[in-house]
């Protein structure tokens, strides 16, 4: 019997698993997708919020402030990108100025450090490209930007390195109550017995909860569309620029990304289909119109990608964290819409502590840290020369836009929780995230995947199972 099964390998499942892997416990992480970090975690604003948005006393407020404080050190420890760049909520009218004052007061009550109300001149000095109509801003020094995929994958890599089993293509279809624990049943018929179940299933968390608990809640999917712009636009903003929030969320933001691009979005639209992540003409038009309020001269000709993310809005209006009262040993991490990503480290730690206490688990004597991952382009010429000397594959650039080498790609295929798809490689070391969007490097990445995994070229998929890239061989006989 396992000690813990975590359902969902997004940032929540990853954060709790990594904490649990510090203890002498048998832990398994299950995900219905063919790779980890493929749901809500895959597509969002990638921002670590400071914590002034959520109402005081909510779990959102508590975990956000705690989580934001953990990000910098944790990212360094596991080897994920993070930059503490600060954020501004911009006010463009006297009314909005009152709103940011309210946010300021709420932030103080929530215990957010480094908060400051600043005037027009100061904000324009820090972010000279902002629309000159700005009248003031709320500055939050502890806000940062992260790479949600890298962060999640690195957490899981670390957990796996310390004995956690991570299964993909493992969709949970039922959970049965046992004498002491649960039996988790997968779509393909596999069954696992476990003492504890942690439900971190994102937009499907309500469905998983219903398999076990009568304490019902609903998850409503809400989508948000985004633009990603080329790095040539990277100097447009240095930090995260919010507009005043509305009922539907934090509004359209303009932010720098950890890799130096600019991201603009999201929209907010409630949808029925929990798997629909399409963009729309009206959505993309809306972003451009709304973002012009923040910065007028964004050049969308430098757009390199549009995408849609999905957030798990819960019917309770707050995060649902902890053991279900009618199902001992069943823990929910649900309704973790924004600031979910920011809160993940704190939620992971808290829930892991609940379970450790419940099972009376002891800490491992040896906890292994992730082996450093080489990011070739960030090295000095001397370091580059050294790395190529050790492994000539680092001398071969596969992705021209982002200067990603063959060595880096081979590395992420063979790491714990390694890449098996073209997008899996992209999430782990970024070939295809540049301006050619994989036009040049895609076929080469596919070739390396096939070679390293011992597969045929047309067995390699882009992303999801069934996302085949090639059909048959051509008439040319080899």
């Amino acid at each position: 019997m396992l000690d813990v099964i975590v359902i969902g390998a997004g940032v929540m499942g990853a954060a709790v698993s990594r904490e649990l892997s510090k203890y002498n416990l048998k832990v398994m992480v299950l995900d219905k997708e063919n790779d980890v970090s493929n749901g809500t975690t895959k597509a969002n604003s990638a921002i670590v919020h400071a914590g002034y948005d959520a109402k005081e006393g909510t779990l959102m407020a508590k975990y956000n402030v705690l989580g934001a404080a953990m990000y910098e050190e944790l990212s360094k420890e596991i080897g994920a990108p993070y930059k503490k760049v600060g954020s501004y909520v911009l006010a463009f009218s006297e009314e909005e100025k009152k709103h940011i004052e309210t946010l300021y007061e709420r932030g103080i009550k929530n215990g957010v450090p480094e908060l400051k109300l600043i005037g027009k001149d100061e904000i324009l000095e820090k972010e000279p490209n902002i629309n000159k109509n700005v009248v003031g801003a709320l500055y939050a020094g502890t806000a940062g930007i992260t790479g949600p995929w890298e962060f999640t994958i690195k957490l899981l890599e670390n957990a796996a390195l310390n004995g956690t089993e991570v299964l993909v293509d493992a969709e949970v279809v039922n959970i049965e109550k046992l004498e002491s624990g649960y039996k988790v049943i997968l779509k393909d018929g596999r069954e696992f017995e476990t003492k504890i179940v942690i439900n971190a299933a994102g937009v499907y968390a309500d469905k998983i909860n219903d398999m076990v608990s009568k304490e019902h809640f609903d998850i409503h999917p809400r989508i948000g569309e985004y633009y990603v712009l080329d790095k040539v636009q990277g100097k447009l903003v240095n930090s995260v620029l919010f507009q005043c929030p509305t009922e539907m969320g934090k509004g359209v933001l303009v932010t720098r990304t950890v890799h130096g691009n600019i991201m603009v979005g999201p929209t907010a639209e409630d949808v029925e289909d929990r798997d629909y992540v399409g963009t729309t003409t009206h959505g993309l038009d809306d972003i451009r119109r709304q973002a012009a309020k923040t910065i007028e001269n964004i050049n969308y000709r430098d757009s390199i990608r549009n995408f849609t993310g999905i957030r798990a809005e819960s019917s309770t209006g707050d995060f649902i964290i902890g053991e279900a009262s009618d199902a001992k040993g069943f823990y929910n991490i649900a309704g973790t819409k924004s600031p979910g990503l920011s809160s993940a480290p704190a939620i992971g730690l808290d829930v892991a502590n609940m379970i450790v206490e419940k099972l009376g688990a002891t800490k491992k004597e040896v906890f292994k840290q992730n082996k450093p991952q080489i990011h070739f382009i960030e090295l000095s010429p001397e370091e580059k020369a050294e790395v190529i000397k050790k492994d000539p594959r680092y001398g071969r650039i596969i992705c021209r836009c982002e200067s990603i080498t063959e060595g880096e790609i081979v590395d992420v295929i063979h790491r714990m929780v390694g890449a098996k798809t073209v997008d899996g490689v992209k999430k782990r070391c970024r070939p295809g995230t540049g301006r050619c969007q994989g036009g040049f490097c895609g076929p080469r990445v596919q070739e390396i995947l096939a070679r390293e995994l011992g597969k045929e070229l047309n067995e390699i998929v882009l992303d999801k199972k069934g996302a085949y890239i090639l059909t048959n061989e051509t008439k040319i006989s080899k």
Binding site: G278, R305, F307, K384, Q437, P443, I469, L470, E473, K475
Partner: protein, 419 residues
């Protein structure tokens, strides 16, 4: 490492430039190519039609490239394959890497930039919809089909009627796929007339002008693509939607010169060509750094690339030998109907017989006169019965005419005729 000339890129432009520099007396030349072989994108263009101007016969891409590669080897010009240039400094130090030599710092007297271009992608034009597999740039699909020997789909829609899109419509058909249609945003095709005839008409593939893709459906692989007619502002017209059940969407929606290295070096880029601003010697704003081929501006015929590259090669040789003349610049301004010119400026001293100017027009025009004007004085003019954005125009202004120019600028424009 030290070379007189480093050529960045071993495609048609780089090859022709290096060969011409050698012919003009430069011995120490290095061509750096990032791919596993010389020839660039020509290697995946297995259709014929290359070389009509250059060799007066129809060659395939690999055949055309082959002739230059052979010449390069016969002339013992050095080249490095599978080698990536990371940086070119304004004082012409070239930083490059490969698996054999490791990290290289190469000191050069002159550098020719010949990195070619890349394709615009779905993200660049913001096509809405889901993000399944099965959306390819036409060039990526061409590589898979022609070089890797794999088909990318069975039922295909193509967006963009540029030459690559048209050629892939034929190629996919010949490989057994069903090409449902080619869809073009503009009211005219961006490809050569001969390709419309030979790649679409011959195979009964419809071309929808003033149409675009408004939705892509499919969670894993493309299942459906929706197109619509667009109005004069290129906005989709509601009610004109057509749905296609296809598994593949190929995009041939424009090429962009690949100037990331040039930009980092400080080379001035022309917003209209997306390539360097060059003078009559194909020299950029940085002395001794030249540009030619598709990295300078996107050509429709490789023959023109080779001709332009020869100019750059010859100029680099002149520069290395210290034979370059200086002088005041005259700027070329774009008047009515003209999208851009290359070069953007010239010095009379360096012009031998005449100044060759390449340009693209903004729209389809009939019975126009292309003229070059210095204030009110017409320096040069030529009749143009038919011009189109898809076909590059070239004029040669004789040196005698250039000598009559007064002032610091001339205007190139279309006058008269039927719009």
């Amino acid at each position: 490492m030290r070379y007189d000339l480093v050529v960045v890129g071993g495609g048609p432009a780089g090859l022709a430039a290096a060969i011409e520099a050698k012919k003009n007396g430069i011995e120490s030349i290095l061509v750096i190519e990032r791919d596993k072989e010389l020839g660039g994108i020509l290697q995946q263009c297995i259709h014929n039609g290359f070389g009509l101007h250059e060799f007066k016969e129809q060659l395939t891409g690999p055949e055309y490239a082959g002739r230059f590669i052979e010449q390069l080897k016969e002339m013992n010009i050095e080249f490095k394959l599978d080698t990536m240039v990371l940086d070119v400094t304004p004082d012409k130090n070239v930083h490059a890497i490969n698996s054999v030599d490791g990290y290289m710092l190469i000191e050069a007297k002159a550098v020719i930039l010949a990195m070619g271009c890349r394709e615009r992608t779905r993200g660049a034009i913001g096509i809405p919809g889901e993000r399944p597999a099965g959306v390819f740039t036409a060039g990526a699909a061409q590589r898979f089909v022609n070089m890797e020997g794999y088909m990318v789909g069975k039922k295909v829609l193509i967006l963009g009627s540029g030459d690559i899109g048209l050629i892939m419509a034929r190629r996919m058909t010949l490989e057994g796929a069903e090409v449902k249609a080619v869809v073009e945003l503009m009211p005219f095709s961006g490809g050569l007339a001969r390709n419309i005839a030979q790649c679409l008409n011959d195979y009964n593939i419809p071309l929808y002008l003033s149409h675009t893709v408004i939705d892509i459906q499919g969670k894993e692989r493309v299942e459906k693509v929706v197109i619509a007619k667009v109005d004069e502002n290129r906005k989709p017209i509601p009610g004109t939607e057509k749905e296609y059940e296809v598994d593949t969407l190929l995009l041939s929606v424009g090429l962009i010169p690949e100037n990331d290295i040039s930009r980092a070096t400080g080379v001035e880029i022309d917003g209209r060509t997306s390539g360097a601003v060059v003078n009559e010697m194909m020299e950029t704003n940085i002395e001794g750094i030249f540009a030619c081929g598709n990295v300078l501006h996107v050509h429709d015929l490789v023959d023109f690339v080779s001709a332009e590259a020869r100019k750059a090669g010859k100029a680099a040789a002149k520069y290395i030998k210290g034979d370059m003349s200086t002088g005041d610049y005259v700027e070329l301004k774009n008047g009515f109907g003209i999208g851009y010119t290359v070069p953007q400026k010239f010095r009379l001293n360096n012009v031998e017989k005449g100044l060759e100017v390449f340009m693209r027009v903004r729209n389809i025009y009939k019975n126009m006169v292309l003229q070059v004007r210095d204030g009110e004085n017409v320096v040069f003019s030529i009749k143009k019965p038919h011009v189109a954005p898809g076909e590059m125009e070239k004029i040669i202004i004789p040196k005698a005419k250039l000598e009559t120019i007064k002032g610091k600028e001339i205007v190139v424009e279309l006058v008269g005729g039927d719009k």
